[in-house]
Each structure stands twice: as structure tokens, then as C-alpha cells.
């Protein structure tokens, strides 16, 4: 069977070689890079612009951004027909291609996030090493931690006040450089689509900007959800632990800190959401108004075949409803979670409508293609390009985040022990 045949249904006249070649993994790819960029921008709001109220979530989102990084590459690898040759993008980049920038942008960005993370946690590494160094009978776990942190500290053991201040300055600079690079990382994902002149739905110079805005929206939303989830877990654990160690923060303290952080973050979420929606609507209105050759078929897709996906799921459930939920007076945690989850759905649907919607019509403008998401993986290909492949990509960052949170404590209170 030809690649694409298993999930493409053709209607009316479609060129013989046309199939939906870019499927669920290419929906996941901008979603994941978007989350990476968004999480990083959120952490930079504190580090660069000094938004003090975001201090707690800043650290959290930085670690999360780092955990998401390798997962942004995962969908690409799963999508390639020759994944073994994936390295060629780094080895022989062909710079007229938007994808070729991937290697450079991605590496630069990883290095920035990695080094910022190191500066943020350097003090903690050194403190841990120092506290464990003098211990005579270390357990296996302690020995492991001791050696791990010794390696991670890279030999920089100076944690005097001056050294710490230098760290802070480095963090600020890195976060500052990181914002444009994060935007570039995602903007270029938008450029990959926006520059395809053969695709009438994709080709618009607004695409990179729309992608950046929706990236920030999705990243912030995911950080809110994950932050709340971890805070709830902490509250549960705190109750149990406080019986032994009364110095730990109480449930009430945690709760008030949580709602403050969440309210502040939601404000930024709504701000970027307004920007993203304005641009998307501008694009839609402009297409309708100028009504060039492709508009006939685009209209049939947008207002016909994809109406439910675009107007009900994306704009309705994904934008309008969370907008109302999040802006209602007296915010609560529960509403913030519901709103953020809907926002995530909205951004996912936006990616879906761009990637799949862009292939829903033939280049002949005389036929349609429908994508049937493969559910049960009968073969490796159907796994990679189906529901379970997408779930793998979706779950991977959380597992990675959990592992990383063992090395990089994400909440300030936990550093003491």
C-alpha cells in the first residue's frame, strides 16, 4: 500500500499522487514546539521583565520547557519515512529550505535553555554536594545524588554572594536572548507552512506570527494545568509530611500561593489569546474579501467540510468558552484548569485545522481529501501516524518532566532538604 492510502479518502477529482502525507505527527510537531516556546516565554516573564508574582511558576515552566524540548523532535522522527537519516538535517542542511534551519535553531535554543537551567540550579547542586560530602556513611541513593550533582555542577563550586549575583545576571541575559530565539523556533515552524506556495490555505505571511501567538497561549495554558496538578499533589503530600516536619508550608499557604500565581498567569494567557484570535480572524476576513482563485475551494472547506472543527471546536469551545470562563470575576482554581484545558484543545484544533485542513482539498481545486485517523495500529506505519503515535508524543514530556523534577526541584521549599 502506498504511504497515505490507509487514511486518505478521495472525493471528486484529486491528482492520482495526492494523499494526506502530513498527518497527526505534523499536527503534534507545532503543538510541541509551541508548548516549548510558550513555557519558556512564561519563565522569561519573571527572569527578564521581573514579574515577581510569577517567580514560582517561572522555575517550574523552565524545567518543563526543557523536558518538552526532546519531545518536540519526536513527532518529526516518527513522521520521517527514513528516520535513520534524520541527522542529515544537521549534517547537510540545504539552507533554502525552511526545515534546514531546524538544526541550528533547535540546537541554539536547547543550549540556551540548558545553560539557563544550569545557572538557576547551580547553587542547589553545590549546596547538595557540600551537604553530602561530609557524610561518612552515604546510602546508595545519596552516593548517586552526590556524584550526579558533582558532575552537574561542572566544578563551579563558588556560591558566594558575588558568584550568585553573577549567576542571576547570566540568567537574565540568557532568558533575554531566549525570548527571540524561542519565538524564532516557533515562528519558523509557522514559516514552514506559510511559505508553501502550492498550498492555498497555508500560504500567508501571517502564519509565523499566528503560530508564535498560539504557541505562547498553549505553553502558558499547559503550564497552568501542570502547575495546578503538581500543586494539588504537593498539598496531598504536605499533609502527610507535615506530621513529621512542621517547618514545611501548610496546605493553606500553598493554596493561597497557588491562586495568586494562577490568576496572574491567566492574565497573560488571555492577552496572548486575544492577539492570536485577532490575527486568525484577520487572515480569514482577508481571504474572503480578496477572494482569489483558491477562495472557492477554501470556502467549501472552511464553511463546509471543516465547519465543526473550525467554528465549533476551535473558535467556540477552544477560544470563546475559555475566554468567558477565565474572565469571569472571582477566579477559582477549578475554572482556571477547565479554561486552560479548553484553550489547549483550541490550540490543538488550530494546528489540526491548519495541517489537515490544508490538505483537505486537492491542488486541482476540484476535489477533496478526508483524513481518517488510524486508531488501532496494525502496522508500524499505522502506529506512527495514528492515535497511539500521537499519544506517545503527548505523554512523553510528562514522563520526562517527572524524571527531571527529581533532579531539578521545581518548588523553592523543597530545596531545603
Amino acid at each position: 500500500m502506498v504511504h497515505g492510502e490507509a487514511w486518505t479518502i478521495k472525493e471528486l477529482f484529486v491528482y492520482p499522487n495526492e494523499y494526506i502525507y502530513w498527518t497527526i505527527q505534523i499536527v503534534m510537531y507545532p503543538l510541541m514546539t509551541g508548548l516549548v516556546a510558550g513555557a519558556f516565554v512564561l519563565s522569561s516573564l519573571y527572569h527578564v521583565f521581573g514579574v515577581k508574582k510569577l517567580k514560582d511558576i517561572a522555575r517550574f515552566s523552565l524545567v518543563f520547557s526543557f523536558a518538552l524540548l526532546p519531545c518536540a523532535m519526536l513527532p518529526l522522527m516518527l513522521h520521517l519515512q527514513q528516520p535513520g537519516r534524520g541527522m542529515e538535517i544537521m549534517l547537510t542542511p540545504h539552507f533554502t529550505s525552511a526545515i534546514a534551519a531546524f538544526g541550528i535553531v533547535f540546537t541554539t535554543y536547547s543550549m540556551i535553555v540548558g545553560s539557563e537551567l544550569w545557572f538557576v540550579y547551580r547553587g542547589y547542586f553545590v549546596e547538595t554536594v557540600q551537604s553530602l560530602r561530609d557524610k561518612t556513611n552515604r546510602t546508595f541513593g545519596e552516593s548517586f545524588r552526590y556524584n550526579l550533582y558533582r558532575v552537574l555542577s561542572l566544578g563551579a563550586y563558588d556560591i558566594s554572594h558575588e558568584a550568585r549575583e553573577k549567576d542571576e545576571r547570566a540568567i537574565k541575559i540568557l532568558a533575554g536572548i531566549g525570548i527571540p530565539v524561542a519565538c524564532f523556533l516557533h515562528g519558523y515552524a509557522g514559516f514552514i507552512f506559510g511559505s508553501v506556495k502550492a498550498n492555498a490555505l497555508w500560504m500567508t505571511p501571517l502564519m509565523p506570527v499566528i503560530f508564535i501567538c498560539s504557541a505562547v497561549v498553549s505553553g502558558v495554558a499547559l503550564c497552568i494545568v501542570t502547575y495546578i496538578a503538581t500543586m494539588e499533589l504537593r498539598k496531598l503530600l504536605a499533609d502527610r509530611k507535615r506530621r513529621h516536619d512542621p517547618a514545611l508550608p501548610s496546605t493553606e499557604e500553598l493554596k493561597s500561593a497557588e491562586i495568586q500565581v494562577v490568576t496572574m498567569t491567566v492574565k497573560y494567557l488571555v492577552m496572548f489569546m486575544i492577539l492570536a484570535i485577532s490575527l486568525e480572524l484577520l487572515d480569514l476576513i482577508f481571504r474572503g474579501y480578496t477572494a482569489v482563485k483558491s477562495w472557492d475551494i477554501l470556502r467549501k472547506i472552511i464553511y463546509g467540510k471543516d465547519f465543526f472543527n473550525i467554528f465549533i471546536l476551535q473558535y467556540g469551545l477552544g477560544n470563546l468558552v475559555p475566554f468567558i470562563i477565565l474572565l469571569l470575576p472571582r477566579p477559582t482554581i477549578r475554572r482556571a484548569v477547565a479554561g486552560s484545558l479548553l484553550v489547549l484543545l483550541g490550540v490543538f484544533m488550530m494546528r489540526w485545522n491548519v495541517v489537515i485542513g490544508g490538505q483537505a482539498f486537492s491542488g486541482s481545486f476540484a476535489g477533496f481529501m478526508e483524513y481518517r485517523l488510524p486508531i488501532w495500529p496494525d502496522s508500524m506505519e499505522l502506529y506512527k501516524e495514528g492515535l497511539f503515535g500521537a499519544l506517545t508524543v503527548g505523554i512523553a514530556p510528562f514522563i520526562l518532566f517527572w524524571i527531571m523534577s527529581k533532579i531539578f526541584p521545581i518548588f523553592p521549599g523543597e530545596e531545603r532538604h
Binding site: I9, Y21, Q81, H94, G363
Partner: protein, 261 residues
């Protein structure tokens, strides 16, 4: 403080040291490595399709699949033939079942998932066939978007794919406005018509040209003013497909109708 002797010595050393990498630049002149792409070579392959002569037999499609080892039953093809039927009401019906591998032998028009439709002869205002193949564009978007340079344009204008280097990302397939590219079902890399490059570089015609019993397909060298194909392209009224994309296609059509997609 540096004295005059020391300054001269160091200056010489620096100049000498710089000369080595600069001379290396001379050796690795990128222009030479570019396979003289911008040089006005002696050959520029072009294709001429005379739609008046095409009867939709599909011999070209079959010959192409055999010649280029694209599995006969796979629903992808390097070249195909489209059938256009216009009703008196002005509604166009277009189809190309299996790329017209078996030719158009009946009156039923395929509508994809919607099934088939048959138009009565008296309702048809005009009908014709249009063979399609890679346009070997002068400004090929597929070459532009390949992230690893696995697809490239030769000096004589043909766009090729390096099967050992293609990573199979599908960006070139997305970038082609003509839908000529696909993933090869056996090699799992991008695949497309290359005017039978292995044949035309050995003084032969492409397989489809040889297979066409009606002379609807012809291949020629645009740089040779005495080439019969070039003469027609230069003197007759020819059209190309989807000029608005700025790809500068090099497959020329005689008798192209406005309904052709």
C-alpha cells in the same frame, strides 16, 4: 612596544598564514562544485504535449511504470492522463482512475468516494484528455524546500531525487503545485518523473514518448534551435500549467483548455 624588525616579521607571518586558507578557497571554488548550473549548457530538456492527439489509451502510464519500476498496482504514478468532460450546462467532470493506467475504456466518470457518473453523449459540449508529468520547472519549489539537498536540478534542467539521501519528510511533495511527487512504495523516499533521465542522456526518448502511438508526447532540447520540438514551442501557441506559481514549468501544451487544472 614592538620594534620595526619585529613588526615586519609578524606582518610577514600573518600575511603568510592568511595566504594558506585563502588559497584553499581558491581550490574549493564553489562555482566549480555547483556543476556549472548557471552555465548556458548545450542541453535544456523540455517536453511538448499535444492534447489534440491524446486519446487516453494510457500506454504512456503503463510504459512509465514498467520502465521506472513503480509497482503497477500501486496507486501512485510518475505520469498520468486526465479526462475532462464538460456538460452543456458548463459543469466540468474530471477523472483519472489509477492514473489512467488501463486507459479510458468506458463512459463512466469516477467521482472518487462518490462512485461513478455517466453523462449522456448529447449533454456533452466538449471532452478531451490531458497527459501530466513532472514539469521540470526552471524555478523548482521542490528543490528549494528539500531540507537536505536530496533533490536537485541538473545542468540540463531535469530535477532528480537522490534515493540514498532523501529523508522522506514529504516537504517536496507539499511544495509541488502539480502533485507529481509521491513516496515510492518500495524505497520509501520521494519519487517523481525525471523525463527518464537514464534514457534521454543516452540518446533515447523517454519511455512514455516511445509508448505513445499518436505522437501526443514529445521530448526535445530547448537549446537546439533545429530540434523539431523546440521549433514548435518557439513558433506555435503553447501554454504551461499553473503559471501563477512562478515555477517556470518546462512542459508545454498545445491545445490547453481553461478548464485544465
Amino acid at each position: 612596544m614592538i620594534d620595526r624588525r619585529g613588526f615586519c616579521k609578524k606582518a610577514l607571518l600573518i600575511a603568510g598564514g592568511l595566504a594558506i586558507p585563502i588559497s584553499a578557497l581558491e581550490i574549493f571554488d564553489p562555482k566549480n562544485l555547483l556543476a556549472e548550473k548557471d552555465d548556458q549548457g548545450k542541453v535544456r530538456w523540455a517536453f511538448l504535449v499535444d492534447t489534440y492527439n491524446c486519446v487516453g489509451c494510457g500506454f504512456c502510464v503503463k510504459a512509465c511504470k514498467v520502465e521506472n519500476e513503480v509497482p503497477l498496482d500501486a496507486n501512485v504514478t510518475r505520469t498520468w492522463v486526465e479526462r475532462y468532460i464538460l456538460t452543456r450546462a458548463g459543469v466540468p467532470y474530471i477523472d483519472s482512475p489509477k492514473g489512467a493506467r488501463d486507459g479510458f475504456t468506458g463512459k463512466k466518470i469516477s467521482l472518487g468516494e462518490e462512485g461513478v457518473i455517466e453523462i449522456r453523449d448529447e449533454d456533452i459540449s466538449k471532452a478531451f484528455f490531458v497527459p501530466k508529468l513532472c514539469n521540470q520547472c526552471d524555478n523548482p519549489p521542490c528543490v528549494q524546500v528539500c531540507p537536505v539537498g536530496a533533490t536537485y536540478q541538473t545542468a540540463d534542467g531535469v530535477v532528480l531525487v537522490d534515493r540514498d539521501w532523501c529523508i522522506g519528510c514529504g516537504y517536496c511533495i507539499m511544495g509541488c503545485p502539480y502533485g507529481v511527487r509521491f513516496f515510492h512504495p518500495v524505497y520509501h523516499v520521494a519519487e517523481k518523473c525525471n523525463f527518464c533521465y537514464h534514457r534521454i542522456t543516452k540518446e533515447m526518448k523517454s519511455a512514455c514518448v516511445d509508448a505513445c502511438p499518436f505522437g501526443a508526447r514529445r521530448i526535445g532540447n530547448l537549446r537546439d534551435p533545429n530540434d523539431p520540438v523546440t521549433k514548435i514551442i518557439m513558433s506555435e501557441r503553447v501554454a504551461v500549467l499553473k503559471e501563477e506559481y512562478g515555477t517556470k514549468p518546462q512542459v508545454f501544451y498545445l491545445g490547453l483548455s481553461r478548464e485544465v487544472r
